[in-house]
Amino acid sequence: MTVTTETRALRTQGARVKPSRDGGIRESAISRAVAMAVMIVATLYFLTPLWWLFVASTKTRQEFTTTNPLWFSDFALFDNIAALIQYRDGVFLQWLANSALYAGVGAALATLIAAMAGYAIAKYSFRGRETFFNVILGGILVPATALALPLFLLFSQAGATNTIWAVLLPSLVSPFGVYLSRIYAAASVPDEIIEAARIDGAGEVRTFFTVATRLMAPALVTIFLFQFVAIWNNFFLPLIMLRDEGLFPVTLGLYVWNTQVSQIPDIRALVVIGSLLSIIPLIVTFLALQRFWQSGLANGGLK
């Protein structure tokens, strides 16, 4: 049962990703040329800065300002990486690890917690269900930066600022995740399957973990990824919560280094190579999971 629904979902997915091209022959050569020209100009706009960052990361400090910014000279990428890692006893690696911890653990737990809530709202009727959901929807509109300052005050009263928890705990809440899970669960988890699991004697919680999560997988990957990015990119919360450099996420660490460039000019090369290394994990994650999150966005996000 599950298998057939999944293959059907996959097949329609495939059909959606590749819309039929049969009308293409009739399009004029001029429209094609204009369209491709727009695409190429846009590609240059989006990729040139990344190319620049990569090229700049491969240069020695002297060549950084004296050679063509968009082409290689001596390839010192690995020397630069080594210098970055050695600087201040490897604090950069610590920052990367912190970011991975905050974003990885935070997004995984946030996804689970939001999926359970969204599933329950979609599949059970209980008193106050719509009110509960509307309050959560309101939460999507609350800007994260408006929460950061009161959160800081509350955490400081609890004596918990400048700890891992001050950054990790608030990022476990994803109102958007609940919204997406509700919509996706309503559309992709048939009541009959839940009933069948009940007749087989599975408890409600077990049904969720063994059956529903599998059917909701694209939505779960989407929630995980977007929460992962939100935490990885979050700047304000760590900025006001953390004092100890050893707890910084990589964005905050590089920001602090960048403010020191005028006093320590050599640090600029480290900011450049550090920026390159800090975006690679995200790009790799997106590429690895793209099939899942794209279908999650297409099916769940916008109905």
Binding site: Y45, Y124, P143, F286
Partner: protein
């Protein structure tokens, strides 16, 4: 068990335990890290600091709307709101227009290699705002930039231009993300809709204008609201640009104003500013939602 079912038909009652397992974790965290901070910010904004004499200890007392009066008299704060509104009025339509055009082109049969283009446009979204701002800060600097033809003629970091230089950074990061949301909406339009138009001899441009754009309006509203929220919350980019340009002051955007007010420290005034900013964000995104809904139904 069967008897139990018959006596209590309501699923809610039967599965109360499971419901608690599903809902309590989110409800608790949402309360602790959303509702309580909001209420606390409101409470904090109603306090004011008083001193006994000039050198007496500071005491927080209930001050009613004192802080809100301060907020409304605070010129830098309103100047910063005006600045981000100007920013949003220009940047959001450009960004969403670009995202719409690129999504329509990706969805049209005119373009080959859509998979590559999709990823190329989306790649900047993987760059955190702080890193993007640092990168573009270097690219704008006259002595480092590869675009010397531009940077030797225009000072991209001067007081007149820096707002638009930041707008470019935001556009660069978010066009691909918005494009993908609109593109996903385009993919979910059934292909049969286009067939009649093709039989009538409509070209791609006409199909896009008359069929596709009206059908992706909900996606445009969604991306528009998120963009408005993002604009009013601008923080990381201008904060980074402070180290590239002296034109970016500590009251450049509302969030920077709140941050610098909180670190003076004047927590109550900063809290009142946060409340005002959050309300402004709410009102603006709600207005957009209502306006577009009315247009869609009429």
């Amino acid at each position: 068990m069967a008897v139990d079912n018959a006596v209590r038909p309501s699923r809610a009652v039967r599965h109360r335990g499971a419901l608690a397992v599903f809902l309590v974790p989110f409800a608790v965290l949402f309360t602790l890290f959303y509702l309580v901070p909001i209420l606390y910010a409101v409470y904090q904004s109603l306090l004011t600091v008083e001193r006994e004499g000039t050198f007496g200890p500071a005491v927080q007392v209930f001050g009613g709307l004192t802080q809100y009066i301060q907020v409304f008299q605070n010129e830098p704060f309103w100047a910063s709101i005006g600045r981000v509104l100007l920013f949003g009025v220009v940047q959001v339509p450009i960004m969403l227009g670009l995202a719409l055009i690129l999504a329509l082109l990706l969805d049209s049969p005119l373009v080959r290699g859509t998979k590559f283009f999709r990823l190329a446009f989306f790649a900047p979204y993987a760059v955190p705002a702080v890193i993007a701002a640092i990168m573009w800060g270097f690219l704008y600097s006259p002595n480092l930039s590869p675009f010397t033809a531009v940077t030797s003629n225009v000072d991209l970091l001067s007081a007149e231009t820096v707002l638009w230089s930041i707008a470019n950074v935001v556009t660069w990061v978010y066009v691909g993300y918005n494009m993908l949301i609109i593109y996903s909406a385009l993919l979910s339009i059934p292909q049969e809709i286009y067939e009649a138009a093709r039989l009538d001899g409509a070209g791609q441009f006409r199909i896009a204008w008359a069929i596709k754009i009206p059908l992706v309006v909900p996606a445009l509203v969604l991306t528009g609201i998120f963009s408005i929220i993002g604009t009013l919350q601008l923080l990381a980019e201008p904060q980074v640009f402070q180290s590239f340009s002296s034109a970016v002051t500590s009251t450049f955007t509302p969030n920077l104003t709140i941050y610098s007010t909180a670190s003076i420290p004047n927590i109550s005034l900063a809290a009142a500013m946060s409340v005002v900013l959050a309300l402004a964000t709410f009102i603006l995104s709600f207005t957009v939602l209502k306006l577009t809904q009315r247009r869609a139904t009429s």
